[in-house]
Structure formats: C-alpha cells, structure tokens
Symmetry: C2
Subunit: 377 residues, 2 copies
C-alpha cells in the first residue's frame, strides 16, 4: 500500500449530503456562490461547501487531468540547478506557475544535448503542457525536433535562433561594462566569455567588443577565453590568460562566479584588484557585493526572466501571439573597478576629443559611449 492516504472524493461528499457527484462537482467548480446558483440551490451550495471543507477535499489531479486532457504541469530544463543564476530564474518560474495553478517539474541537462533530449522526453512522457528551457545552445538544432512535434516552449536566459525567448539584453550589458572600463581609463581588456554555445556569454562579449571598437579599441582575439560559467572555469581561464600575456588593464568575467575564480587566480600571482587590474562580473549575485573586494557587475533581472518566461508560455498555450522579450540590465559599480585607489583615469587614447566631459546618469553610470562622447545637453 505505497503511501497514498485516503482522500475524500466527490462521491464522499455527494452521498453525505444526498446529491450526486455531478452537483458537487458543479458547485465546487463555481468561482462564487452566486455563479453556483446556476447549478444548485442556496442550501445545497452551503452543504456542499461545508462538507468539502470538513473533509479537506481537493480534487484528484490525475482524474481531473485525465478527464480534461490537461496536466497543469510545466516542464523546466536548466543546465544545472546548483547554478545560482538558474536557480533564481527557476524560482521565478515556479512562483509564477504556482500563482496560475500550475506545478513545475525541473531537471538538469548539464548542457549536454544527449541528456537534454532524454530529460525532455521524460518530461513529455509526464504530459507537461509546455516547456521552459534554460539550456538552449545558440545554434541548437535539437530544438527543431521538439518544435516540429508541436510542443510549445519558451527559452529563458539564453536565446537561440528564432525561438521565443526571455533574456536580458546581454549585448547592452557588455557595452555598459566596456564603456565603464573605458571611462576609468582601461582599454586593454581580457574577456572570460563563458561557454561558446551560450548566447549570454556570446552577447555580453560581443557587446563589450562592439563598444570598444566604437571607441577605436580592438580586443585581441586571444584575450577572449571560453570556459565554464563557474568558479573553477573562471580560475582556469584567467590562468590561461596570465600565463600567455602581459597583464591586461581589466578582466571582464561574463559571470560573477567566473569572476570569483579570477580573483583566486590573480591572488595566486600577487596581482591586486583594482590596483593592478580591474575586474568585472555579471549578474550581481548575492556574493558580488560581499566579496573581499566588492565586485563591479551587471544586474540582470533573473527572477523576472523566470516569471515572464512562464507568462509567455501560458500565453502560447492559450494560442495567443507572443514575442520574445529582452529585459534591461544595469551596471553596478563597486570597488573591483574602483577609482578610489587609482590615479585619475586618463581618457582612452582613442577618444578623439579629450576635452569633452563625460555624461553620466544620477548613479554615476555612463550608459553609452555615444552619450559619453557627446557634449553635455
């Protein structure tokens, strides 16, 4: 008798108060007493509700699902739940799902396409109504099969091809970082670009490269290093850079955890932040502000990405037209790019007019290079 305890059924209530299950069902499925009056007398309604409450009745989701052909289940696939960023996005998804009467089933894919396919099949065999995928590879052809089968899904965090997605504007995020570094006098910048298949790292890197190029600064291709989005990956990528090149002005880790790994590698060589090299992370995780050297980073609305992903998927399930969403990141400046301990930053050599004051917003953030170069209002 594995585990299932006794739950009251419609029949329990029906026979207790002397009506049929049909009536009980209709009353319990009515939003309000007044709408229930279409189906039952005031007295019946009261007695149904009382009995249901007394028994702690809740409809059997398996029976409801079988009858209505719906599961109220959403499948979620993430690279790894251990990753703070994905865990936070998932929290957003689950919270929103709960609010809409859905439950979610999550699984790790470890960014392995084979495992991804496997877990998607498992999810589908559980009859999830749709999928939210946080592990898309930018050219992921394996998404085609699931799309062709008519499965509805939305991507979160990472975009891929033309599939519907909710992302942060990672290109903008990269630009904000590069412009901040330029504004503080750095132009020789190494980038920890993350996995080559993740649009997050790709776009953040490209955004930075584009902004630098717009300022006349070229990023050396071998200062752009790929690797896992975690502490270990950041450490190794940084070690690779340090072993082959003279120390750059700044390191842009496209992930906070990679930035922490970079800190470790830098410290091993006695290199201090920000005096010897500036360091920037990405995501503004809970750690960033509390690190020994507080980390300049880009805040991305992780929780909101999850919430919106769920909302978008539900819209798709209702066959409403939907469009991809791109949320806005904000730069958060802390000591790791600190100007406090450093000689006043010279303007980047490539800027044409050094006399032009930089334009910054109220938080001291210089939002676009163009704005920085424009003469003030």
């Amino acid at each position: 008798m594995a585990g299932r305890r006794d739950h009251a059924t419609l029949q329990t209530i029906a026979s207790e108060i002397g009506v049929t299950p049909s009536t009980v069902s209709r009353v319990l499925n009515s939003a309000s007493d007044s709408s229930a009056r279409r189906w039952a007398s005031a007295d019946t309604i009261r007695r149904v509700r009382e009995s249901a409450a007394a028994h702690g009745y809740s409809p059997d989701p398996q029976a409801v699902g079988l009858r209505t052909r719906r599961s109220n289940l959403i499948g979620v696939v993430v690279p790894r739940l251990q990753d703070y960023v994905l865990a936070t996005i998932y929290e957003g998804i689950d919270e929103a799902a709960r609010g809409e009467g859905f439950a979610t089933l999550v699984t790790n894919s470890l960014d392995d396409p084979k495992k991804h396919e496997l877990v998607v099949e498992t999810l589908l065999s559980r009859r999830v109504e749709g999928l939210i995928l946080g592990d898309a590879h930018i050219d992921g052809t394996y998404l085609d099969t699931v799309a062709e089968r008519g499965v509805k899904f939305v991507l979160v965090s990472r975009r891929a091809r033309d599939f519907i997605s909710v992302t942060c504007d990672d290109h903008l995020g990269g630009r904000l970082v590069a412009e901040h570094l330029l504004a503080t006098g750095r132009s020789n910048i190494a980038i920890l670009a993350g996995e080559p298949y993740a649009s997050t790292g790709i776009d953040r890197t490209q955004g930075a490269v584009d902004a630098l190029r717009a300022a006349g600064v070229d990023v050396s291709a071998d200062l752009v290093v790929h690797g896992p989005f975690d502490v270990q990956g950041g450490r190794q990528a940084t070690e690779r850079i340090l072993s082959r090149h003279p120390l750059p002005d700044a390191i842009f880790a496209t992930n906070d955890f990679a930035a922490i790994g970079a800190m470790g590698a830098l410290r091993d060589r006695g290199i201090t932040i920000p005096d010897d090299v500036a360091l920037v992370g990405y995501n503004d995780t809970a750690l960033a502000a509390a690190l020994p050297v507080p980390l300049t980073t880009v805040r991305s609305p992780m929780h909101e990405i999850g919430r919106r992903g769920l909302a978008l998927l539900l819209a798709m399930l209702r066959d409403e037209p939907v469009e991809s969403q791109r949320l806005t990141p904000t730069l958060v400046i802390r000591e790791s790019t600190g100007t406090g301990r450093r000689a006043p930053a010279p303007a980047p050599v490539t800027v044409r007019d050094e006399s032009v004051p930089q334009r910054r917003d109220a938080r001291g953030v210089c939002h676009t290079l163009a704005a920085c170069l424009d003469p003030p209002g």
Copy 2:
C-alpha cells in the same frame, strides 16, 4: 486546446494490430519478452512492441495513476533552492528519484512555517506519495500534523525531534573544526551559528563548543552569534562581533557563504586572514577552494544526503523499517587557517602535556582531540 499534443494510446496500438487494449497493456507491462509469453503469442508480442515503438507510445501517467492509485511523485520542500547546499541536495534527490521512476516536485518554504504548511498542502493536493523536507526546525511542531495524517516523510540536512532524517554528523564536523583550530594555536573562537532553529548550525556549534570545553577552553556565549546562512548574514554577524569584542583568534562560520560574508566584513576593517584571524567555513562548496584566500572548511556529502533521503523515503513507502542516517564529514584544511604565514602554533594552554606529539592522518588532519593527545602508536 491548451497544449496537449496527440499521444498514442493503448487503443491506438490495439486496433492497429487487431487485439484488445488489455493485451497490449499486458505485453507492455512485462519486463521481458519471455515473461510476456504468459500473456501473448510471440508474434503478438513482436507486433505490439513494434507498433508501440513506431508510435513512440508512453503510458499516460494520469490514467495509470488514477487506476493504480499511485502518482510516482515525490514532494520536496527546501528553505531556498537558491542556496547551493540545498540545490545540491535536491539534485541528489531528483537523480535518485529519476532512477526509480519517480518525479519530484520542489518548492521553497523560506523557512517560514506558515509557507511551509501551505506548500505541503499544495504538494499533498498534487497527490505526492511522500515528502522530503530540507527545512525542518529543530522543535518543529508543525511536523506533527502532517505525521498524524499518515503522510510519510523524511528530513534531509536538518534533523528534528525523532523524525527519520538523513544528515551529516554536524556535531563531529564542529569538533573537527575546533580541534584543528586548537591544534594551530587558536582558542579564542567566535562562531557564526546560523539560524537558531536549524540543527545544522546548532550541532556544528555544539560540536565545536564541546571539543573546546574538552580542551579546557570555554567559549564566551556572546561570541556565538546567530543569523542567516548566507553571505549577508555572515557579514552582519561578523560586524556585530567585531564591534563589540576584541578580535578573536578565529571565526568558525558554520556555512561557507557566511564565511564569505565574514571575509568581506574583516576586509572592511583591514583585518587579514589568516594572519590576524583564522576563518573556517562549512560544506566545502565549489567556492571554498577558489576564493582569494582558500577556505578551510568541512566537506559534507550533500549529494549523497539527497540520494539517501530518497532511498529512505521509498523504503518507508514500501513499509520497510527504516532508521535515520548520519553521514561522516571530513575536514579540508586550506589557507584561511594557514600555518604557513604564521608563527608556529603553540599548543593550546589547556592541554596538559605539551610534549605529546599530535597524531594526524595522512592528509594532515587531526581527527579527534583524544587522538591528538594520545602518545603516538
């Protein structure tokens, strides 16, 4: 038509090959062809399997569940999935569940008893067969109600009362830390004890206090500070200690993230690790080794706790007798308690015979104070 695509049913296959759904069901539910021979001819078996494969048939879990009165669903409640430790434990749970044909439904309770009750009700209304709870409060009376209802559950990570649990031996972990600190010459120790309702922090603290007391060292009660098990909590607890007391010899943060917070607070005051103060964390998360100052910490088998929790619950569901399990932690010594930069540690003043060499294992870990005090083999 929200989302559900067409799935082949037993009827699809049955009519295709000219048998009844009963036969198809029996064949498909047979483990092997030979056992299926009890139910069908070799030819029928072959044709059923072929047709099922061609259609990508998978049984509808709602129908199966309705009929068999089982959901193959396990509910999991954690304080917060954003927490690396709980996320890792959950990965262990889900992995094991998957292997046993179960799926899991996770939710955060944020350690709020009200929310806990709410999410448990939601899980139960989804007809989970049992629960794994990672958010138990040590005297949590609210577990009684669920127990009285006959719901089977096991606790993971934290123990409470006499409920079945899978934990790490936190008392031992605390002892290992204290003995290591004593062995490196520290005896004035502050403890970031975590939330007062979590057995993890309580036991780790008690283990340390007991070991110190056994060495004749008393821990001042106001050097034991409670607070959240996260970066922010660790930072605040440390600030409280620093503002009210002279600097202790060592800080034992009963959680790695709290230790990172402590690092931040120490750095703000220009206090260096390990020269001015030693710092110890707990859990050996991926961060510990890669931090600017690599963190001495205690490794706890988080993933294994999850796996075993699931195994224990399944045993309970089969009405097998089960007992709580307590897994063994190991001390991992790194620079944050480093001896390299520090004058050779004097033996703690309270140790009776200073001439007795300390006994250590191959990894340089002194496992029990008793062992340390015994003369070598």
